[in-house]
Symmetry: C2
Subunit: 204 residues, 2 copies
Amino acid sequence: MLSKGLHVDRVFLFLDGHIRVQRTTAQGDQIILLHIAPGQVFGIGAALGHKGYPDPEMAAEDCVVLAWPNRLWPEFVARYDGFASQSYAVVGERLNDMHAVIVEMATKQVEQRLVAALLRLIPQMGRKVDDGIDLEFPITRQNISDMTGSALLTVSRLLSAWEKDRIVVSQRKKISATAPHRLSCGVVWPADATTSKVDLQMSG
Amino acid sequence: MLSKGLHVDRVFLFLDGHIRVQRTTAQGDQIILLHIAPGQVFGIGAALGHKGYPDPEMAAEDCVVLAWPNRLWPEFVARYDGFASQSYAVVGERLNDMHAVIVEMATKQVEQRLVAALLRLIPQMGRKVDDGIDLEFPITRQNISDMTGSALLTVSRLLSAWEKDRIVVSQRKKISATAPHRLSCGVVWPADATTSKVDLQMSG
DNA sequence: GGGGCTCTTTGATCTGCCGCAACAAACGGG
DNA sequence: CCCGTTTGTTGCGGCAGATCAAAGAGCCCC
């Protein structure tokens, strides 16, 4: 499924498929940081110029992408107006998503994080079918636990419970939300009800 | 200490002081997302064009900053070459930091997250003194728990334990690392030993 | 088809750490 | 100086959820 070792010295425009970006710690824990939707650019990190960080390994199969070397990035930015703003909008959005993830991880319990993860996946890679919404991307409970910073077994238990309550249906590597609204309504917190604050103080 | 309500419709270049960027959930939990060092730009998110997200509240005191309206951003980028690349480098670095935080929150236990948080603060706002390193920024145990997604009481307990082991010294709102190396060596994981991977797959 | 693989489920146990409660200490203001 | 407020400390009980163990189910490939 994966062909590793593709060096990231270029920027990609992602046309079709689904991409998972993950990290592996020295202990072997895998964390899924984000999913990339068709139409987005990725590999921006390197293009933005942060060097000295671990080179991401790449794994690819059957994906339709446009690729160009990093060094052309500034030229593209200079030449095409919409290109830069659109790309940076993606980055801004991603920053915001990661803020949300951090807040979740810090304050919500596992079940709520799981709900949040599914609700984030649904608009990105869900397909509407007659009895709910299918996630088109094969996803294991292990994957989900890697997204939420929880344990595989806990994810399995929660999904089983939800399936008993007719909220989701799942087979092997496959999840469908039959009652997505009940996912969110079972939980008490408003989706976007976070505020941000910047707290400044002089040193010395 | 804080004067709230300053609307973020501009980008700032931060000259002196220390800034904390935090979020408050609907439940009142506060999470400190990052600290901004002098010389960095902030408020970039809005400039990057993500709209529809909660407007950050601002709180300021005694800080030295340069500010200009968001709409001038593209012009600045076009006019000054180094400006854009430097600013985006900051963004890239921040993306990477947040990746690291997410991985930590997902895989490490509280004590290790605490160590990581301190080790991240030390180079940013530590001042070398004869018997170790002082954090120049007043910081409470509540603040630290907000950074690590843990409980105030747990932080207090851990710091007490470390103080018994002569690793840190702390008074009220003040922390000094007397043996910073022992902070990291007590823990088993190599600092930057994460690798990244991108996992692609076709839909359907 | 069958062997081996990956993925999933369920029960039982164990533990990190959260939260309560109560107190101590440091600060700040009048 | 006294008193209210904020911050830090410590002990203890409880619980969410990680972990162990073991078996069942779906998939691929020879």
